[in-house]
């Protein structure tokens, strides 16, 4: 298994798209900033499995935490309410600094 490239706590931003050929990042997360919560292993690439390819190279999967207030403009809940999504490395960009 390949080593984790992003450590827990790393700041990331979901790539804005386009979602072709096949991207499983929900629309409401595209372009949003979050923080890596955990490394969730290396798995066959779903964007290739979707086309009945072997899904290699395998890709690192991360559990990424977002603030609800960053996702929904009218969010009225607590400031630290959050949402965690599993997102593959190739649909994320690291955020410098």
């Amino acid at each position: 298994m390949a080593p984790a490239r992003l450590a827990p706590g790393a700041a990331v931003r979901v790539r804005p798209g386009p979602p072709e050929p096949h991207c499983r990042t929900p629309f409401y997360l595209r372009g949003k900033a979050g923080v890596v919560e955990a490394f969730a292993g290396v798995h066959r690439d779903p964007s290739l499995l979707a086309y009945c390819r072997p899904g290699l190279p395998a890709r690192a999967l991360y559990r990424v935490r977002f603030r609800q207030r960053d996702l929904w403009p009218e969010y009225a809940g607590a400031a630290d309410d959050s949402l965690v999504a599993d997102i593959y490395e190739h649909w994320l960009d690291p955020v410098e600094g």
Binding site: G17, A50, C52
Partner: protein, 106 residues
């Protein structure tokens, strides 16, 4: 952005959710069984990722009007033809024959 796919409705207004349960119909059980068979690693016609990709090709009208298992059946037909498990003409002829037979779907 305009690249939101028809299935990707998280966060959109959806109205009340119907949480009523219903008994599975024979049609639903058969579609479920066929999907389990085709995605079983020993057969491996395609994986769930491909099924999702196929369902995402629904038009908005199809996505709104087709039921859950009808979307599965649409994906099964599309993928089994794409993967050359079934021949498109053969499938169409068989569908026509079953329709002509009539009698509904028990």
């Amino acid at each position: 952005m305009t690249d939101r796919k028809v299935n990707d409705i998280g966060g959109l207004e959806a109205g009340p959710i119907d949480r009523a349960e219903h008994a599975q119909t024979l049609f639903e059980k058969r579609v479920d069984a066929l999907m389990m068979l085709m995605t079983n690693p020993r057969i491996g016609a395609f994986k769930v990722d491909a099924m999702r990709r196929s369902i995402e090709t629904c038009t908005p009208e199809e996505y709104a009007s087709l039921g859950y298992y009808q979307k599965w059946l649409r994906a099964l037909a599309q993928l089994l033809v794409e993967q050359q498990v079934l021949d498109a003409d053969e499938l169409a002829a068989r569908v026509a024959a079953v329709k002509a037979r009539g009698g509904g779907y028990a």
